[in-house]
Symmetry: C2
Subunit: 476 residues, 2 copies
């Protein structure tokens, strides 16, 4: 949350020592204003009050983050590459390939982010790019990354992204050949998360586990033949970094669209709106607010400089709204009572449930955050402990609305406490997509929050027992 | 290389849809022009021709990268935090700490870069920051990262950086307490690299191995007591991510200055110029060009908005120039002949030397790149193979000048080939500080280049044997 409010935007400009706030605000207004209006429609559709404190600036934050996240539409390869081609000799006397004539150059493990054209959610990319210099010139290494980023900062599918990076470099540098391999990860739907989590698993989860993943490649020139020797060299250099292109490729299902919001039938039918099991929750509402939301998303797409009627984007507003409606505000309160629990009992046995899957939506950016919840509590001996599936439901209930992690932790703790009678501690660990995909791009950062109720708030030993149990499970 | 030429700078501004190139260039000119002049003096001192193609734009690139890398001097915490404080309730009825009142919030694993005030080389930081909200308000998570970055983008020592981030957040957010832990890595000197590399080690090296590392912390408010319960919670949450604060702290030597260019005696004496074993190489030259270089560095520091007479910066120009002179151009040619080798022999036995340590200086940014070199060759049966120490010397010789990785690979291959008679292949794998510390900030990216001579350039099997041998060693 908070990655891209006004402070950030002005800050970036000030970095260069130029005060241009005034002219910036004038020029910015048109597309930003359109997107802001669209976001207000979406918040309304979610049943939220866009004037409440936490949401007041959300339309502006989303508009700026989205504009920044699609800046590639305003960039071109030529501007980046020109002035960064350097003369570099090849071999003087010997026979072979080296330096600026034939010596393969590969930059590996470039972390990028792109936006899925099927659902508008960000996806994470590890990009590996190589080229074979010709005519005794090489390109500045960072330009390979920057050219890749031009195409990543657009609405994309993995294969189109690979193809565009490849042809962009081939045309921009004119080398003997270009090779691109992308490893891409797409966030799952909350429903898929919930269903796939093994019910009794207390084990630690890898950050990217459960994400849809895919490996794609594209190549041209003397690297174009993926059975050839140059391609084999490229693949070998990736293997040094643990990337096994052949193995990953074999694991990729061919007839399976990677975006979880775009099932197979939609891919085959093209334009038609998806017939998706997730749809029914949305379609039982009245249609008009949903249509208004979809139209708002179309306007957002147009404001970014894309054509909402492009084939691949035809179903996108529908899918995005469908996904967003998972986080519709509901006025239900969670009231639970369980037999055998209550504050009258002596609660002396410590128990914990670790790594309960979480997915939620940051109310400052309308972007997902996801991770795990650990719950510790004391309960009466001889009484059956609270079921993991009940805790999972509580986490899911509070995850499925606009949130901030601090509030989510408190709400889970309060609800569990209302069942179990007071002594409850909750630790939430989550990765915030808004921290890594836009603005500050802090890959690998992770946020932890604590809510400690009753005994856990004033008995350091109780707290330590719980925190150690998480530590041990994480290490194992 | 190539991270920050004009294209990049203009590109960043264009991202916001504003054309301000004109006013930007006017305002930019003063400090940029001063730094450009200083860099020209440095290039001259290195014996380089600043008009040769690869160096033409180096002064501009360095000036812009340095300005960008110290943008923190122009930023302040208040601008960042204001507008990002959100009301967030604490517990309603229950006793305890949660949400906006007492619920610890920690953001872990923020990758940052800073500049060592002792030697002007960048150092890498993994920042972990936490705070305890008070008065029912929380701060946008990304602001913790952005505030840390304000202080990282200045000339720093690890401890001062931790202290400034801590007090910046304490004053900016006014929470109940703030805690900061920084893990910092400082690049080694080329001499230290060379001497520490175990002579027969063929094993793969971790990217950060051999770097100076240190863990520092700072805390305030209820987190100020590092024997207290709140600090214990903070440390526990870091442990979940594999950061053992106590263990790391015990491993940090107390009377040891972490910057390898600032040995203990200098720390104790304060102002005096360092008496350093590395100095003699520099001091046997005439003094005046060195003094001119040091004055140029002082001017650079001043142009960035710092005071070159500040106690900690007093010896910095000396140390920076001393380090830079490791890469002085030398007109020596490497001529080697070894007994028993020559192209007349039938060379049928494949051999390789892997993971030879490399450190060099990118001629586009005057920033280090470092990594390993793998050399494969065929040699005659019954003849003693080339010694690893000889290959290490060749790598060191070509590393110790302004370079690009493509050229370095070719030069090493050509030299080894001149000794061994033709069939040589060289793979260089390196991390470029300019790719990760400034501009595009691609942490973890790594560049591989290939030079394949003689049989290796036209016999795919020979090449595959060598590449597989690297792959196997890397995996092991």
């Amino acid at each position: 949350m908070g990655a891209l409010d006004e402070g950030h935007f002005n800050g970036e400009l000030k970095d260069n020592g130029v005060k241009i706030n005034k002219c910036f605000k004038e020029e910015e207004s048109e597309s930003i204003r359109n997107i802001k209006e669209a976001v207000k429609v979406l918040l309304q559709g979610l049943g939220e009050d866009s004037n409440r404190e936490g949401l007041k600036k959300t339309p502006l934050r989303v508009a700026k983050a989205l504009t920044e996240g699609t800046r590639g539409y305003k960039q071109n390869v030529k501007d980046i590459v020109q002035g960064a081609l350097f003369p570099e000799a090849g071999l003087d006397k010997a026979v072979g390939l080296a330096g600026g004539a034939g010596g393969l150059v590969v930059v590996r493990d470039l972390n990028l982010f792109s936006i899925c054209e099927s659902c508008l959610l960000p996806f994470q990319v590890k990009c590996h790019v190589g080229y074979v210099p010709s005519e005794e010139r090489v390109v500045g290494l960072s330009k390979l990354s920057r050219v890749a980023d031009v195409f990543a900062k657009r609405l994309q599918s993995p294969q189109r992204l690979a193809d565009e990076v490849c042809s962009g470099l081939q045309n921009g540098i004119r080398p003997d050949g270009v090779a691109v391999v992308l490893q891409c990860w797409h966030i799952h739907s909350p429903e898929a998360e919930l269903n796939s989590a093994s019910p009794n698993s207390n084990s630690s989860k890898h950050d990217m586990e459960g994400w849809e993943k895919i490996l794609v490649s594209s190549s041209s020139g003397i690297l174009g033949n993926q059975n050839g020797d140059f391609w084999a060299d490229f693949v070998s250099l990736l293997k040094f970094r643990g990337v096994d292109v052949e193995k990953a490729r074999n694991q990729t299902l061919i007839n399976h669209h990677w975006c979880p919001y775009r099932p197979l039938d939609v891919v085959c039918n093209g334009h038609s709106a998806p017939k998706n099991p997730l749809t029914h929750r949305v379609s039982c509402k009245t249609e008009s607010p949903l249509l208004a939301m979809q139209n708002a998303v179309s306007m957002m797409i147009q404001s970014l400089g894309e054509d909402p009627s492009r084939k691949e984007l035809a179903g996108t507003p529908h899918r995005f709204v469908q996904w967003l409606m998972n986080y519709k505000k509901c006025d239900l309160e969670m009231n639970m009572k369980m037999n055998g629990f209550g504050s009258v009992h002596v609660q002396d046995e410590f128990r914990s449930e670790l790594n309960i899957q979480l997915q939620s939506l940051c109310e400052h950016h309308l972007l997902p955050f996801h991770g795990v919840v650990h719950v510790g509590y004391f309960h009466s001996k001889g009484v059956e402990p609270i079921k993991r599936s009940v805790l999972q439901s509580i986490v899911h209930f509070f995850g499925c609305k606009l949130q901030v992690q601090e509030r989510l932790s408190r709400q889970i703790a309060e609800t569990v406490s209302s069942i179990l009678g007071g002594d409850v501690m909750v630790v939430v660990e989550a990765n915030h997509i808004c921290m890594i995909s836009r603005g500050i791009e802090k890959v690998g950062s992770s946020t932890a929050t604590i809510a400690a109720l009753g005994r856990f708030s004033n008995d350091p030993k109780a707290k330590a027992v719980f925190l150690n149990s998480i530590s041990n499970a994480t290490a194992a």
